[in-house]
């Protein structure tokens, strides 16, 4: 009995870490390879999750229609949810990139942060859009009929890891292509990249959209894992900055680092939960703040003393270069 409990715990740990790894991979396209400073991952997380939720659930009917409002409900399979989430996030990224990508990095940062905060407020206040603060519940899970509900997480873990692996190889493939080399050239020196005849704005835009689509898929994976989403999930702390710490810890500019960072930091995050269980009852309600404080101090130490992270960037991406 003990062992199955532990196993179930490990499975759910791995699912969440895998979902965060997808976000870290998306951020790696933005920051690691192109140098785009996106601090509004929560916005893409939110849009991805809600889009997939509304694509896969039916429009509520009968009594439910009085209590649950959503913009649309198409009742389509999970795969369409993933694709729709990616598309919506790509579209959102396009509109964010339009005014900001020609300006300095800070502008993109403040714009992504602003959109993430605004979206959370909009989803919270507009009942008709996605049921306001109560959010959407009872999201369908793919292949749920194959197995008893108690053991469903095994299947979902396989799905998450498969999607993660697919995205991993997709990014590896594109980063090793001429297209990927241009991104790295832009990150290193924008002026010389544009002097070599590269349309810096277009490449940055493509990278922004690509990364955002990956984040959208991450959001969709989260939505169908937790089965219920509400605006309170997509806060800057859980939705954006923990992912930054994961990427910085693992090593930005390295996809293996992004995945490793996600698992390690999620492990530390969950591990500190066990530690704070020993705290006296009176301070326990503030334990999450203490855990976050530890994570942020860790981030500052990484920035100061090991900016390349655990793995560091692979300098040589092509087998053809000696």
């Amino acid at each position: 009995m003990e062992l199955t409990g532990l196993l179930a715990y490990l499975i759910s740990f791995a699912i969440m870490a895998g979902i965060y790894a997808v976000f870290a991979l998306g951020l790696n396209i933005h920051w690691g390879y192109t140098g785009l400073f996106n601090i509004g991952i929560a916005g893409f997380f939110c849009v991805g999750a809600y889009t997939s939720a509304m694509i896969t659930t039916p429009q509520p009917t009968g009594v439910y229609a009085h209590y649950v409002h959503q913009l649309f409900g198409w009742h389509l399979p999970f795969v369409f949810g993933l694709m729709g989430a990616a598309l919506m996030c790509g579209l959102l990224a396009f509109f964010i990139g339009l005014p900001t990508l020609k300006l300095g990095e800070d502008y993109l940062a403040i714009a992504t942060l602003g959109i993430a905060e605004s979206l959370r407020l909009i989803f919270n206040n507009e009942q008709w859009l996605a049921n306001g603060p109560r959010g959407l519940m009872g999201l369908p899970q793919p292949l749920a009929h194959l197995i008893d509900a108690r053991h469903y997480n095994y299947i979902y873990l396989v799905i998450v890891l498969a999607v993660m692996a697919l995205i991993y190889f997709l990014i590896e493939r594109s980063i090793r292509s001429p297209w990927g080399r241009v991104l790295r050239a832009i990150r290193e020196d924008e002026v010389s990249a544009s002097m070599s005849g590269k349309d810096v704005f277009a490449f940055k835009m493509q990278a922004l959209i690509f990364g955002a689509m990956v984040m959208g898929v991450g959001g969709a994976l989260y939505a169908h894992y937790s089965r219920s989403i509400s605006p309170s999930v997509f806060t800057p702390l859980y939705g954006t900055f923990i992912i930054w710490v994961m990427l910085m810890a693992g090593g930005s500019g390295n996809n293996k680092g992004a995945v490793l960072g996600a698992f390690v930091m999620w492990g530390i995050w969950i591990g500190t939960q066990f530690l704070t269980d020993f705290l006296p009852y009176t301070v326990k309600s503030r334990a999450p703040y203490i855990r976050f404080l530890v994570i942020w101090i860790l981030l500052e130490f990484i920035l100061l003393y090991r900016p390349e992270g655990l793995l560091g960037e692979e300098k040589r991406v092509s087998k053809l270069i000696e």
């Binding site: 400073f37 502008y107 940062a109 403040i110 942060l113 407020l121 404080l293 500052e300």
Partner: protein
């Protein structure tokens, strides 16, 4: 409507104080300080600490002044707290940003570090005080007086604007006349040139942090007097402050002042048509509009 515009000017003057500090840091130290909003929070909470713990312990009475909602304690705490926030800003520079500057870190890495600093400050506030809204003087009625044109104003709000005016005029005189103020303007214009003309840029950076932190602290305290003390108050000001800074052209102190007032008025007037919680998206939308129309801000040259 006149009333909303007046409230907007009060809110805008608080945003201006934050934006002026941000624009100084942006112009002189050249990176986006995302911890600026949380400097405001820290200022408000240091004042709360002084008012509710230190001063009762010292036996300082909290006599109120006429129609104002706060008393002697707040008055005494104000200069102490803004000095302390300036100190916090300088301390952060010494233990964090200076090291990053010396190792020639990317400016984005410094912005990232400031985000980390923002969260560290907020987590400390949350650990010490919890997540509830607090007041400097709980349970006090705050009556409004009626001005012409049907405008109801609390005496506090007039005082807030007066304090902001005093702070901005003294900053203006400081930048114009003092030696370090001139050095600050020179460094903002051209750091290399300032270095070769013998200006100690590290000293300038130190002063910049001190002033920016103190102004942000003042903004936080004034907001706390006007509304309430809350751990996320500064974070919610971050977008309006950035919008004001960009509107007034980055590095331009007077631009930041005007930008802050404009953003504040627009935010407040928008509440006539939209939910009050949409103040933040309104500021964000303003910023996006500015980026489309005039990315360098109103005082920026092409």
């Amino acid at each position: 409507m006149v009333e909303l515009i007046f409230y907007g000017i009060v809110l805008g003057s608080i945003i201006s104080l934050g934006a002026i500090g941000l624009t100084l840091v942006y112009g002189i130290i050249r990176f986006a300080n995302f911890a600026h909003g949380d400097f405001m929070t820290v200022g408000a909470y240091i004042t709360l600490f002084l008012i509710s713990i230190v001063m009762p312990w010292l036996g300082i009475p909290d006599t109120t002044f006429g129609p104002l909602s706060f008393g002697l304690r707040t008055l005494l705490a104000f200069p102490l707290a803004i000095g302390a926030v300036g100190g916090v800003a300088i301390l952060l520079d010494r233990i964090l940003y200076q090291k990053l500057r010396r190792s020639d870190s990317n400016l984005v890495i410094m912005a990232m570090a400031s985000l980390g600093a923002a969260f560290i400050l907020r987590m400390i506030v949350l650990i010490l005080w919890g997540a509830d809204s607090l007041f400097y003087r709980p349970g006090l009625l705050r009556p409004a007086v009626e001005l012409p044109l049907n405008v109801k104003v609390r005496p506090d709000q007039i005082l807030i604007m007066a304090v902001v005016c005093i702070l901005i005029v003294s900053l203006h005189l400081f930048l114009k006349n003092s030696k370090i103020g001139k050095a600050m303007r020179a460094t903002a214009d051209n750091m290399e040139l300032a270095l070769v003309s013998g200006i100690n840029t590290e000293r300038v950076i130190l002063w910049t942090w001190g002033i920016a932190g103190a102004l942000a602290g003042a903004a936080g305290i004034l907001y706390a007097i006007d509304v309430q003390v809350h751990p996320y108050m500064g974070w919610n000001f971050l977008i309006p402050i950035f919008a004001a800074t960009i509107l007034g052209s980055i590095g331009n102190v007077y631009g930041a002042l005007i930008g802050g007032l404009v953003i504040g008025v627009v935010q407040q007037v928008s509440t006539a048509f939209l939910l009050p919680t949409y103040k933040l998206p309104v500021a964000f939308l303003m910023m996006i509009l500015i980026l489309f129309i005039r990315p360098k801000g109103i005082f920026g040259s092409k």
